[in-house]
Symmetry: C2
Subunit: 239 residues, 2 copies
Amino acid sequence: MHHQIIQGDALAVLSTIPAGTAGLVIADPPYCSGGRTPTERRTQSARCKYVSGDARHKLADFPGDTRDQRSYTLWITMILLECLRASHDGASCLVFTDWRQLPATSDALQAAGWTWRGIIPWRKPINRPTRDGFRRECEYVLWGSHGQPHRHAQPIYLPGVVEGSQPRGHQRQHITQKPVDVLRQLIQICPEGGTVLDPFAGSGSAGVAARLEARGYIGIELTEHYADVARQRLTEAGT
Amino acid sequence: MHHQIIQGDALAVLSTIPAGTAGLVIADPPYCSGGRTPTERRTQSARCKYVSGDARHKLADFPGDTRDQRSYTLWITMILLECLRASHDGASCLVFTDWRQLPATSDALQAAGWTWRGIIPWRKPINRPTRDGFRRECEYVLWGSHGQPHRHAQPIYLPGVVEGSQPRGHQRQHITQKPVDVLRQLIQICPEGGTVLDPFAGSGSAGVAARLEARGYIGIELTEHYADVARQRLTEAGT
DNA sequence: AAGAATAGTGAATCTACAC
DNA sequence: CGTGTAGATTCACTATTCT
């Protein structure tokens, strides 16, 4: 079982992955949805948009969160198109998104040639209250398949909603880090012994989850800092 | 506090409602998403698509579930446009949708001039497992506001996810009936003493919920059969 | 048990610019 | 030169969960 992190731009690296490699694509792109004015979106760093308090100073920033909705749609379509090529027939694709970008992301998923299969809400127990309104309590995972979904030898039945808190304290390495428990549940959809392809590896949580679930893993990460963090965590998970 | 059911086509009746009447629009349109082919959508009745087993024979059918996605978007936009006119500044709009129509419905909500505020997943505890995939466990409620949302004198904090099973057995009057408990939670967003406008009343569950939450109610229902059922339930809820 | 954090938001204040 | 508007900046704020 092979596990690796490749440092580089997602589109550029994806084009070097041989066709039919992946059994599951799991993508957690920058949502590009924070900020209330176009200027705020363009100029504010991801740190300022999403984090308040101490974490703003302790965690490294990440780039690529400044696209407007049209170019976000185009860009994520190109990414998902390359991912389709890199995945085999029957593979699944899981894309994280927030409520604002959900429609654009579902368009991109289908434009890239994936068959849209459903939405899996990710429920986060820690979240801000909204005065005189409904809490923004969930992010969403869009599920697509490359043709007919893979039929598992041993049938599996997966949840319709996943729940889990973001890591906190010293376990938190990335501003938008996803909990490993949540990723372990999602990764079940990958055929046994298959390979998980992760074009936005970040701190590598999906790699840790893939290793724990006995799947191969290819992660792509743009920033050198996070590529290092991810390699470190991947190694630790193997021991 | 006034409660009434008007029998007629939603668009036609909405145009007779005075501007600024409603404090909350709660719309549960036919989803028009069942069936995998255009032919299946056109020819199957709602009963066949959504119900299996006994209920198929016992519950009355409902029309209007045969639009394709483009005309669905256009039609629901026109409905929501009339609803915006019929609602006052600060009013909210809650639209039920399933995962397939969520992007089209969010387009329509915004095209009609509502400000999109979020997604509230409705989690149904009773649902079918999916072999080799994720459960289809949720429907979704899109939340929009007419301008800035109403500021309640007594601040309210509403949940980010609502839960409740569809009524079963003799309590079930309509194929796509929503639980009164879920609607009671949602109706909190309506200003106190305000009026709930429901362009697709069906068996009138939203009216029952509005009455229990001390809000006024105007329901519109196309079929004579369900308009009668709704009036009956509304009367019973008042006693 | 106390403290800190939350893929934020709305209102108020301030600045720049056109008329 | 005063006025009005649009855009940018700042600040206050909320309740549950987790350390």
